[in-house]
């Protein structure tokens, strides 16, 4: 194994970066395709159907046990992909050709770029430090993810506008308005997390790896995941994530009931497939960020950080603490969590019907945004009281204000029915 490490270290840094980047893309792209199949299967199971289970290439039909894979619809993935590559690629005559062709590419770029700032796992080096596996370990981490992933909406606007057709146009307009509305609450909901991380006197950072580091400390509060410390922030972030990734119940941009196919009405074959994969890649990056911020990243369980697992492994056999094995383990935990989140996305999709557009706007501006601001104020006050050690009187005052504000918002009998 050390030979592999030496070979890797002897490579030129640029070559290393290219290989790492391609490896990440090479995982995310097929996972996006696999998610589309998983979506079909999950929806089928939830609806009491078997789902896609027919495809079986004749040249592997003789393999014993292959019928299980067939029942799981694994070969439909190849069939779908092959169809998308080889079917006729129509280019409607009424579109603005340059931007029409540009839109799917623009959709893919931010979806695959954001992953650079997202740590995907970690290993423990000889000094016992946890080193994150990340393409670009920069301090602006989360800011980079937010900045680049918001660019994804340009592809929807471009697609909607360049299609030169009413429904795609409406879909593009809706997507942009929705993104602007929910971007605010999303950003506000993560500020408390970084207020918590950036203790006074420490080094200021927006790095996602640091957020995980903070959830793997010893002690009751140190090992606690942020979803337990800040549940409201987590909920606001998750709801905004659904809206940002255009997933049901917020898929206003597609809305096949009222907008035919939304922004991709005029698209077909591979160009449509790129939008599809981009959507799933966005979901994956979004869930990855959610997991890093609120669900402990690559730590298997709350209060059981990765370093503790490595200690246990070391007690079993010193070979198991090799960085490659630990790295693969942490990657497995992290990818497993991401896939779990993708399942939650699908689970919610087949549970909650689509909101009306005015409900989406109302919820974004009138419910989530005030909630995110209130949450931010509460944690700002709490963190200030904690760090300045102001004493019990201030904690009591904060509790009274919080309870009063919550009561004023939720217990008001004169309030009209929500939404």
């Amino acid at each position: 194994m050390s030979a592999i490490v030496e070979l890797w270290n002897s490579l030129h840094p640029v070559l290393q970066a290219v290989i790492k980047g391609l490896a990440v893309i090479g995982v995310i792209f097929p996972l996006g395709g696999a998610s589309s199949l998983a979506e079909r299967k999950v929806s089928a199971w939830m609806q009491g159907r078997p789902g896609p289970n027919r495809a079986l290439p004749f040249w592997v039909a003789w393999v014993p046990g292959i019928s299980l894979l067939q029942r799981l619809g694994v070969f439909h993935l190849m069939a779908d992909g092959g169809k998308m590559f080889f079917k006729e690629d129509p280019l409607p005559g009424h579109v603005n050709k340059f931007y029409f062709l540009l839109a799917p590419v623009v959709a893919m770029i931010p979806a695959l770029t954001t992953v650079t700032a997202v740590p995907l796992g970690a290993y423990v080096d000889e000094a016992g430090r946890v080193v994150p596996l990340i393409l670009a370990n920069v301090d602006i981490g989360l800011l980079a993810v937010f900045a680049v992933s918001s660019l994804g909406v340009y592809s929807l606007i471009l697609a909607g506008w360049a299609s030169n057709s009413k429904y795609p146009f409406l879909g593009g307009v809706r997507a942009s308005a929705q993104l602007i509305s929910y971007e605010l609450s999303m950003t506000l909901s993560v500020i408390p997390v970084f207020l918590w991380i950036n203790v006074p006197g420490g080094e200021g950072t927006l790095s996602l790896a640091k957020a995980v580091e903070f959830q793997s400390q010893p002690g009751f509060l140190g090992g606690m995941w942020f979803i337990f410390i800040m549940p409201v922030a987590a909920i606001v972030f998750l709801v905004s994530l659904f809206a940002e990734t255009n997933r049901l119940p917020f898929d206003m941009a597609e809305g096949e009931a009222d907008l035919v196919g939304g922004f991709h009405t005029e698209y077909g074959s591979l160009k449509w497939g790129l939008f599809f994969v981009a959507e799933y890649a966005h979901m994956m990056i979004g869930s990855a960020v959610f997991i890093l911020l609120f669900l402990g990243g690559w730590n298997p369980l709350p209060w059981i950080p990765l370093s503790l697992v490595v200690e246990w492994l070391g007690a079993v056999s010193p070979v198991l603490t090799h960085p490659i094995i630990v790295g693969l383990l942490s990657l497995g935990i992290f990818v497993g969590k991401v896939l779990g989140m993708i399942f939650v996305f699908m689970w919610v999709r087949w549970t909650v019907p689509r909101f009306r557009y005015d409900q989406v706007m109302k919820m974004g501006w009138q419910k989530l945004l005030p909630l995110a601001i209130g949450n931010l104020l509460f944690y700002a006050a709490a963190i200030a009281i904690r760090d300045l050690q102001l004493g019990v009187a201030y904690w009591a005052a904060l509790a009274v204000v919080t309870v009063a504000a919550t009561w004023a918002i939720f217990a008001n009998p004169l309030q009209k029915p929500a939404l």
């Binding site: 199971w45 939830m46 919610v348 549970t351 029915p417 929500a418």
Partner: protein
């Protein structure tokens, strides 16, 4: 009478909305592990209940004799005019069919016209035509979709007779009562 529906104000959990979503997710999760309710059709066929009106067929009596006497009532009653019968004499070399005077020379049902109404079965005095459990027909040409006599008997087979009309008539004749 006009009446006013009382609009109850929403409860706290309804206004929070998330508990409602969680309740819905519990339901969908339960369905995720429930057995499928669908049939994998070409491999598994549904059980056809008795009285099902499938493709009309001609049947033989328990003695293996042709029941149809080509009275053409079904042809006349058929609303979409799907049935066409060419009546013919019963050949003399078939003594077991000597009890009737006529049988169909040709019997065609055009399944592109048939509406599966079952009037032919209703009207048949000999209980010779039945809508049975075949429900899917396919063919590459229009001609293939016309069931001729041989095909109709192949689809129909032999059904148990409830009445044994001709046996009773024969027995009555032997006892000297021509009109039982």
């Amino acid at each position: 009478m006009a009446y006013v529906v009382e609009r109850k104000s929403l409860s706290l959990s309804e206004r929070l909305y998330l508990p409602q979503i969680v309740a819905g997710m519990k339901v969908t999760l339960k369905h995720l592990f429930k057995p499928n309710v669908t049939l994998e059709y070409p491999d598994v066929r549904p059980a056809i209940p008795p009285g099902y009106r499938g493709v009309p067929t001609l049947v033989k009596d328990p003695n293996g004799r042709e029941k149809c006497v080509s009275c053409q009532l079904c042809e006349f009653v058929c609303p979409p005019k799907a049935i066409r019968i060419t009546p013919g004499e019963v050949p003399a070399d078939q003594p077991q069919r000597a009890h009737v005077e006529k049988g169909p020379q040709a019997f065609d049902i055009d399944m592109l016209r048939c509406i599966y109404c079952g009037l032919c079965q209703e009207v048949c005095p000999e209980e010779a035509i039945f809508l049975q459990n075949t429900f899917s027909m396919a063919g590459y040409t229009r001609a293939e979709m016309v069931n001729d006599k041989a095909k109709l008997y192949e689809l129909g087979g032999t059904l148990p007779d409830q009445h044994f009309k001709w046996d009773k008539k024969k027995a009555a004749e032997e006892h000297g009562n021509a009109h039982h």
